[in-house]
């Protein structure tokens, strides 16, 4: 490899373009680092911490850490995968996730990540928060029970749709997704099913009404191949080319 700067990921060289983060460069190079709140189309903000890696011995969120020449990144280690398992367990315990009855099962990133990392139990006592659903919109159904606070819908509505339909309220464990209307109902916003924000939820919070199990369980996105393989396919082609 002689085309531009590289860093070491688990001992192997990864090329990167200046401006890329460690996670972006790794995915572009066909190297998977588990992640959840990161999405290739939006600015990363590093809240879920699933993508935590050790960079020169210091643990950091790889989705917000700029790639630099000659840094040494550790990712696929027992210690870090154990951390990721615990973080996924925390998210399962924090919300109300009932996979068998969830329309998103099989298409859900949290569930897929759990399977991929080998999470067998929630590991913590479930918190069972009270989170009323919002069925007010004629076409969209909001089930906050499954929210993992990744803010992808917030970012999509703000940056792509320019509507600011979603935001965060409260703090700490009381932090929750809110909707931009005085009534707090989605029906009283200018949300439309065609909005980008309505199609980025990695879990089952934002769903299209009157559509259920159109694709049968067993043939869904993460039934076909694990999230670690899907994530590499989703990496923008421009990045992949660079490493070809």
């Amino acid at each position: 490899m002689s085309r531009g700067p590289t860093f070491l990921l688990d001992g192997e060289e990864v090329a990167f373009e200046p401006g890329q983060t460690v996670l972006q460069a790794a995915l572009a190079a066909g190297r998977y680092i588990p992640h959840l709140c990161y999405h290739p189309e939006f600015t990363s903000h590093g809240s879920c911490k699933v993508c935590t890696c050790k960079v020169n011995g210091r643990s950091v969120a790889s989705c917000t850490t700029p790639a630099e020449a000659a840094i040494e990144v550790e990712s696929d280690t027992e210690e870090l995968n154990d951390l990721r398992r615990t973080l996924v367990q925390m998210l399962f315990a924090e919300g109300n996730h009932f996979c068998p009855s969830c329309e998103k099962s099989g298409n859900c990133s949290l569930q897929a990540l759990g399977y991929d990392l080998g999470v067998m139990t929630a590991g913590f006592r479930h918190l069972f928060p009270e989170r009323p659903v919002d069925p007010s919109h004629p076409e969209i159904w909001l089930d906050f029970n499954r929210c993992i606070l990744c803010e992808l819908c917030v970012r999509a509505s703000r940056d792509v749709d320019k509507k600011n339909i979603f935001a965060l309220g409260g703090r700490g464990l009381g932090k929750h997704l809110i909707v931009n209307s005085e009534t707090g109902l989605l029906a009283d916003t200018d949300a439309a099913i065609t909005d980008k924000a309505m199609h980025v939820c990695p879990v089952g919070v934002i769903l299209r009404k009157r559509e259920g199990f159109a694709v049968p369980i067993g043939s869904r996105r993460y039934d076909r191949s694990p999230i670690s393989a899907q994530a590499l396919e989703d990496a923008p082609p421009r990045w992949r080319r660079m490493n070809d």
Partner: protein, 638 residues
């Protein structure tokens, strides 16, 4: 219920009956006071709450229209800060400070007594809509606790008699302005003064000294605005000379992190931007710390001098003081001091008749959020946003307030910088130890006979502080608050310094009668309450820690829970977004290491016991049926 309720009711305070018109007036007044600037959002919300008691949905809608922000953005900010209420909280909002020192002084019994007197449940609005009684994190009156805030006003030295009086005043619906003024007196309790607390410099001395230092070289050029502001070599001797003194002093940040002040200032001076900012971090939220409260009350001029010297050195023309909401009582005197300094040409345009030396200071008031003491969260809050720490790098010195070069310094640091401007870096460096120059103000509270402020040169042994403050039979000292370190009696020869025991100032003393497990449990609750909720490990992990500590407290703990806490600690250390998460486990780990028996004596002998308490689950049924006899408890059943 007490009979006072039946007496004829005097007039209600205005804010009980806030009408839509009153809201509109309040919102419009505040929005124009803050220049229709969205960065003033948090300040506007504070103003409206002060005027009207809470921020009603109608007010949120109006603020969002006037500031051109989305409704959810305004609601998101209003619901982030614990002092802002978006639901009615009553005409009187009582918050008991719930630091461990308040606990040790019996705040629980006082809270219960007040609730009983007012016939109200903690945290719930009374049926007549008159009052809520709740708890809040340390309010910075640990030297005169137990303490409370009533509608944001601090009251310390609570006794059963004071509680009785406060209860009567509330039931009689006496407006806060007519409450006896002695209730609101806050003592300074300076017990040992050194160069800072004993400073007698006249207002402006440090600024004149900094200008004078420049005059020894190329004074006529230093007076050129563009030259010193842009840092052109040769013409910038004044600011550079001051910067050199700060660097030579080896002054390090007093907020806890201990970053070298001169390096921070220099990086800001050299950063390019449209403007530079000087921010004073007066968000003194670490439980057990109250030194800044006294510096702000007694030495405000020294602080403002320090900020102005900093502005001169880095080339800033705007400054902010971010004052924690708990110190609202200091706002009016501070504003008066700023006004006096403007009249005296110590602020404004052409400070001390130096053409081009323009600098002014604005005070922003926080609203109950510990994490805003973290510098990037503080800047977010200054910009009127939720106080969530930013991703770093970039750091504030290059991308701070409005993404411009910004220095954020602690109150004590800026006061020390003012002294250095007058006396020079070598003088300052001569005090303290090799790597810790100058003095440190300790906020001493807990089991001592003389709580208050003690200023020592760095290097003072813990033992000496304990002797000076009258501590007897001391079991442990929490240095620098819950995010710091807890030491036991074998370590009292250790010294307060960056080399050994670095501290932001809290010095909380526990005698042998105290249960160190309960100390750690109080701190665990504090961190969970103050987590901003941005990152998974801190948002969920701090609550899981609380659950484990409460489980042990309830007698259901096992060795398994101790191992779980160790696992959570590792997760927080490795992956939390900011220092709050990184340090949230410290109190538990420190006490587990040094006072393990305090935990183990509470563990049930089993390897595992469920947190679910079968008998406890019947509590609600017992309450509803009014039964608490033996037959209503599971363990008494055959």
């Amino acid at each position: 219920m007490s009979g006072q309720n039946m007496e004829p009711r005097p007039r209600l305070p205005d804010y009980v009956t806030a009408t839509p018109q009153a809201y509109e007036q309040s919102v419009r007044r505040s929005v124009s006071r803050w220049g229709h600037d969205p960065h003033g959002l948090l300040q506007v919300l504070r103003d409206v709450q002060e005027d009207c008691g809470y921020v009603a949905p109608g007010a949120i809608a109006m603020i969002s229209r006037l500031l051109r922000l989305s409704y959810s953005r305004v609601l998101g900010v209003a619901s982030f800060y614990s002092f802002l209420a978006t639901e009615p909280r009553g005409a009187y909002r009582v918050l008991f400070s719930d630091n461990i020192t308040d606990r040790m002084l019996g705040n629980e019994a006082l809270l219960e007594a007040l609730c009983h007197r007012l016939w109200v449940e903690p945290g719930k609005l009374s049926e007549d809509g008159l009052v809520t009684v709740g708890r809040t994190s340390c309010t910075g009156l640990c030297d005169q606790g137990p303490a409370m805030l009533v509608n944001g006003r601090a009251i310390g030295g609570l006794t059963p008699e004071r509680i009785e009086l406060i209860g009567s005043l509330i039931l009689a619906r006496t407006p806060l302005t007519e409450w006896p003024t002695e209730l609101f007196v806050v003592q300074d309790n300076v017990r040992r003064a050194d160069i800072l607390l004993g400073s007698s410099l006249a207002p402006g001395d440090p600024i004149r000294a900094a200008l004078q230092r420049g005059a020894r070289g190329w004074s006529e050029h230093a007076a050129n605005e563009r030259s010193w502001r842009e840092g052109y070599v040769g013409a910038a001797l004044g600011p550079v000379a001051t910067l050199e003194e700060i660097k030579r002093s080896n002054l390090r940040g007093r907020g806890g992190a201990g970053f070298t002040t001169g390096i921070k200032w220099e990086a800001c001076r050299h950063a390019t931007g449209l403007a530079r900012y000087v921010v004073c971090n007066a968000d003194e939220g670490e439980p057990g710390t109250f030194k800044d409260r006294v510096l702000l009350a007694r030495h405000a001029d020294l602080l403002f001098d320090g900020m102005t010297v900093a502005a001169y050195a880095v080339g800033a023309s705007h400054g902010f003081v971010y004052l924690r909401g708990e110190y609202r009582h200091l706002l009016d005197p501070l504003q008066a001091t700023l006004e006096r300094r403007r009249t005296a040409h110590l602020l404004g345009n052409g400070i001390c008749d130096q053409p081009g030396f323009d600098f002014d200071i604005q005070i922003h008031v926080g609203a109950g959020s510990y994490v805003c003491g973290e510098e990037s969260a503080l800047i977010e809050s200054l910009e009127g946003k939720r106080g969530v720490p930013r991703n770093r790098p970039p750091y504030p010195v290059t991308h701070g307030y409005q993404q411009q070069p910004t220095i954020v310094n602690n109150v004590e640091t800026l006061c020390a910088a003012a002294l250095i401007a007058v006396h020079g870096g070598d003088w300052y460096r001569g005090i303290g130890t090799l790597k810790s120059s100058g003095t440190k103000i300790l906020s001493v509270s807990g089991d001592v006979s003389r709580p208050g402020l003690y200023e020592y040169p760095f290097g003072v042994p813990v033992r000496q502080v304990l002797d000076d403050c009258g501590a007897v039979d001391t079991q442990a000292v929490q240095i620098s608050g819950p995010s710091g370190i807890c030491i036991d009696a074998t370590e009292f020869e250790r010294r307060i310094s960056f080399e050994d025991l670095p501290t932001a100032g809290a010095f909380t003393v526990f005698d042998a009668s105290r249960d160190m497990f309960e100390v750690a449990r109080n701190y665990a609750h504090f961190f969970a309450h103050e987590s901003c909720g941005f990152c998974t490990p801190c948002r969920v992990g701090t609550s899981m820690l609380v659950a484990a500590m409460d489980k042990i407290h309830d007698g259901n703990g096992t060795q398994h829970d101790l191992r779980e806490m160790n696992r959570l600690n590792k997760v927080l250390l490795m992956s939390a977004h900011c220092g709050l998460g990184h340090t949230a486990c410290n109190p538990i780990l420190d006490t587990l290491k040094r006072f393990r028996p305090a935990y183990e004596c509470k563990l049930s002998s089993l390897e595992f016991a469920p947190a679910f308490d079968l008998d406890g689950a019947l509590g609600r049924a017992r309450q509803m049926t009014g039964r608490d006899d033996a037959g209503a408890h599971l363990e008494n059943l055959p």
